[in-house]
């Protein structure tokens, strides 16, 4: 194995793992869970090795099939993509390791289907993160979307209609993105991000350029569930099985947010109009998402509306721009991915159980819920606090004082809905005694502690992301 292959391995490992699932299921279905765990852990290890390698020796570029860019497809593992890749790979690995019991309870003999779809989703998200080619991003965007449609629909009943509405909205989003890619290709004749970055500044007066950028951003805004294009989120994530939401809701919309960050900072020439739109949409998302979350009675819908609100914060970070805004956006992406994976895993623990079995309070579950919730609301010492602090600093230095008011209002509302969510956790049982069932509670707790550790290590993380931002530009 050579150094350059490190860039593509985090895509290939889960992809091969997904293909192995149905093959292994031909003779035994008991292998599904261990095989998925092995795949996820391998891809996470490769991603971590990748981030260390990139930090030590610089950006890795891999030409797929030996076709040199800009003609061929390029895979780029620079500090920004390596960091995001490591975060998503670790979170998805924790989720896959932890969902064994609920997946067994919900899917029974169909567990290999669940694992195949989750691994396919993870492979596609990794592909979106490392791809250096606009059209390639579209393909991975759709592979991840198609696997999440199927995962959400696997809830049956009302989840089916939620999944269908998501298919319709998701397809509109992807098609708009594709249309935008077409517009940029028509004026530049290239799809390679680095190549586009060099050619686009000379073309900013073209109306095709402005149309193309608008299509790209509207398409991605649908995919990241940004206000006012968030209509599909509460239904899709609220009605999906929590075992599926632990992966799909945790990293799905954030991957689209990452692509927006990539476009704004590494592809498109800087413009102020885009920032203003993202700031406005993000601020409205923070407030409407949080207000709606407070009003929910169903915990999964509450988390879905919280995601809309948190995506708003990320959009504000991207809209503020500059190194500070981008740093805040990356910390927020990390923080919310950790928090949502942990909180949905907690919900997965009691899903599909009879009401009578949910009786005894579980201290670890409560602790995990409280810590993860603190991160969502932005309380120290979690990563959520440092991410939002970073956002306030960026807003202040950019001269947008009103953004600070919006962010604080969103956090106060988050305290209310997180209190309602956590209070519900006094009623969660810990009746399973087998250690592998207890792993389910260890995972959210681990994620919660990870969130705290990331919060305490925020100076290091900040330096890493700041270095990454410099490297990415």
């Amino acid at each position: 194995m050579t150094r350059t292959q490190l860039a593509i391995l985090p895509v290939l490992v889960p992809l091969i793992g997904a293909l192995l699932q149905p093959i292994a299921a031909v003779w035994t279905r008991r292998l599904a869970s261990p095989l998925a765990a092995l795949t996820a852990v391998t891809s996470a290890s490769v991603a971590v090795v990748g981030v260390i390698e990139v930090m030590r020796r610089g950006t890795i570029r891999y030409a797929v099939g030996g076709w040199e860019p800009p003609w061929g497809i390029e895979i780029v593992l620079d500090p920004l993509s390596a960091y995001t890749l490591a975060v998503t790979a670790l979170i998805s690995a924790v989720s896959v390791l932890a969902v064994g019991a609920p997946v067994h309870r919900l899917y029974g003999d169909d567990a290999p289907v669940y694992y195949a779809l989750v691994l396919l989703f993870v492979a596609a998200v990794h592909g979106m993160v490392v791809s250096g080619d606009l059209f390639n991003v579209f393909v991975f965007l759709e592979v991840s979307a198609i696997s999440s449609y199927a995962l959400i629909a696997s809830g049956g009943g009302s989840a089916l209609i939620a999944a269908f509405r998501y298919v319709v909205m998701g397809t509109i989003g992807a098609s708009f993105y594709l249309l935008g890619v077409g517009c940029l290709y028509a004026i530049t004749g290239t799809l390679n991000m680095a190549d586009l970055h060099g050619r686009l500044p000379a073309l900013t007066s073209s109306s095709v350029y402005h149309g193309g950028v608008a299509f790209l951003l509207v398409g991605l805004a649908v995919k990241m569930g940004l206000f006012p294009l968030h209509g599909w989120v509460p239904e899709a994530y609220g009605r999906a099985p929590s075992a599926a939401a632990a992966v799909v809701a945790a990293i799905g919309t954030k991957a689209a947010a990452y692509v927006v960050a990539r476009l704004l900072f590494s592809v498109l020439p800087p413009t102020s109009a885009m920032g203003a739109v993202l700031l406005a949409a993000g601020s409205l998302a923070v407030l409407t998402g949080a207000v709606q979350a407070v009003r929910q009675v169903q915990p999964s819908r509450l988390l879905a509306f919280s995601s809309i609100s948190q995506i708003g914060y990320i959009a504000i970070g991207l809209g503020l721009g500059g190194r500070g805004g981008l740093l805040a956006a990356y910390l927020l992406i990390t923080g919310d991915a950790i928090a949502k994976a942990g909180l949905f895993l907690l919900l997965a623990q009691r899903e599909g159980k009879p009401r009578a079995a949910i009786s005894r309070a579980s201290l670890p579950a409560f602790t995990a819920a409280a810590l993860l919730g603190a991160s969502v609301a932005g309380l120290p010492p979690t990563i959520g606090f440092f991410a939002k602090w970073q956002l306030l600093v960026a807003a202040w230095s950019a001269g947008h004082a009103w953004v600070i008011a919006v962010a604080i209002a969103g956090s106060l509302l988050a305290l209310v809905y997180i209190y309602r969510f956590v209070a519900g956790f006094w009623a969660v049982t810990a009746d399973d005694s087998a250690w592998w069932r207890r792993a389910l509670i260890v995972a959210p707790l681990g994620l919660a502690l990870g969130g705290v550790a990331a919060g305490l290590a925020n100076a290091w993380l900040g330096a890493l992301v700041a270095g990454a931002v410099r490297g990415g530009q």
Binding site: V143, I146, G156, G157, S158, L160, I172, A174, L178, V297
Partner: protein
């Protein structure tokens, strides 16, 4: 006038988008989705058209690259068609399940039944 194929593609696109948004029948939404995606494929293919150019296969005596049509949009759209087929497949599979469960594909009728299911659970 050379831009008119683009306008045709955009007109078909709007037709598909309208079908997806306005119709209450889920199967018609799926049909609209296919029309919408096909229009985008048409949009890309129009870009590669060049009058008087030949097929993008290297042939003896033609050394000027401008004499060939651009093969890349076609290659891209082959991939996009695969994506489209997979999306339609998942959409139709969900519709089959919905019909088996609720006995209708009218969105309002299904929403009514779901509202009925949700109330006792809450």
């Amino acid at each position: 006038m050379t831009a008119y194929p683009y306008w045709i593609a955009i007109a078909i696109m709007c037709l598909g988008l309208h079908t997806m948004m306005a119709h209450r029948n889920l199967l018609k939404k799926a049909v609209g989705m296919t029309i919408f995606q096909t229009a985008i494929i048409l949009f890309f293919l129009v870009m590669s058209i060049k009058r008087g150019a030949t097929l993008p296969i290297v042939s003896a005596g033609v050394s000027d690259p401008a004499a060939y049509m651009n093969p890349l949009p076609h290659a891209l759209m082959l991939t996009a068609i695969v994506v489209m087929v997979a999306t339609s497949g998942v959409a139709l599979a969900i519709l089959v399940q919905l019909y088996a469960r609720y006995g209708t594909l009218e969105e309002d009728a299904i929403a009514q039944q779901i509202a009925g299911e949700d109330v006792p659970a809450a």
